[in-house]
């Protein structure tokens, strides 16, 4: 806890949170959104393909989207770390935040074998059952992570206990 308090009190964290500049909190938050859209968005599109949408397209070329997904992922990790540092004491102790991290770990965990399956896939053979389940897990992970991210922001247990006045523009 002392570490989290220190992190939140660093001059960088206070600048990020309190600066009226558009280059502070708003821009970091936007980059976070952009990165996760690239990572989770492309993953979800690929999951749809693995579940049978656009099944006339060959699977192997989808691997070319992975560099974009990884770039987006690392942008959201870096910006996410910065955003968490600014709100360390409330963010890290929020159980929905731990859930979000667990779901992201699941999403990344299944992305690796999915990529391997894309490489191994030949022509128009059907998607193996195991890969079908990986795609389901990936969808659950990314949609769940987005839901948990919203819950982290809106359903802060401490805030909810005192005043369940949430929703709308924050």
């Amino acid at each position: 806890m002392a570490f989290l308090e220190w992190l939140e009190a660093t001059s960088f964290s206070t600048w990020l949170k309190l600066s009226p500049s558009i280059w502070a909190y708003p821009s970091v938050l936007f980059l976070h959104t952009l990165g996760l859209s690239a990572a989770a968005g492309c993953s979800l599109a690929l999951d749809l393909r693995l579940l049978g949408v656009a099944r006339a397209t060959p699977l192997a070329p989808y691997e070319r989207f992975f560099p974009l997904m990884w770039t987006g992922f690392w942008i959201s990790v870096l910006t996410g770390a910065v955003l968490v540092a600014a709100d360390a004491t409330t963010a890290v102790t929020n159980p929905f935040f731990s859930l979000k991290l667990a779901l992201i770990a699941l999403g990344i965990g299944v992305a690796v074998p999915i990529r391997r399956a894309l490489r191994a896939h030949q022509g128009s053979e059907p998607v193996p059952r195991a890969v079908w389940w990986l795609a389901i897990a990936s969808m659950v992970a990314w949609c769940g992570a987005i839901a948990a991210a919203h819950a982290t922001a809106y359903l802060d247990p401490a805030a909810l206990a005192s005043a369940p006045n949430i929703g709308g523009v924050q």
């Binding site: 949408v53 987005i146 919203h150 359903l155 929703g167």
Partner: protein, 146 residues
């Protein structure tokens, strides 16, 4: 409609909807620009009905979110910038249909290069959707009336 959870649930669905949508748009536009060239465009466009479904989800949840706090949105510059981006997205989509560009894209087979016009369309589309994401995010920082 006024229960406390309606806002958070709608915003969560709105967030999932835009992620699915932007993901599909990114894959299609990047293919038009030459990424993953072995993908033939006609069957790849079967992803579009799912994007349309995600868009419908965004529209419905967006209207519910808005209706709960209408004055806040009417006076929000970022909200109108987002709407402007969406109108331009619609115009671009209509234009590529009218000019036959959509049909030309249907004909782009595996390994083939998309026409220059379709690359230009893809860049504009990507930029407009980044604009939608940007102004959507900025809405919370333009909370005061102008």
């Amino acid at each position: 409609m006024n229960a406390w959870w309606v806002g958070p649930v709608c915003e969560t669905l709105h967030g999932i909807g835009i992620t699915v949508f932007v993901g599909i748009v990114a894959v299609l536009n990047l293919r038009a620009l030459g990424v993953a060239r072995p993908l033939p465009l006609a069957p790849l466009r079967r992803l579009l009905p799912w994007a349309a479904g995600a868009f419908l989800l965004q529209l419905v949840t967006g209207l519910v979110i808005m209706s709960r706090d209408l004055p806040v949105y009417v006076h929000n510059v970022a909200f109108w910038m987002k709407m402007l981006c969406l109108v331009l997205v619609g115009l671009a989509a209509g234009l590529s249909r009218v000019t036959g560009l959509s049909r030309a894209e249907e004909a782009v087979g595996a390994g083939e290069d998309a026409p220059a016009a379709s690359k230009a369309r893809a860049i504009i589309s990507l930029l407009l959707w980044v604009g939608v994401l940007y102004w959507g995010r900025m809405m919370q920082f333009f909370n005061t009336a102008f």
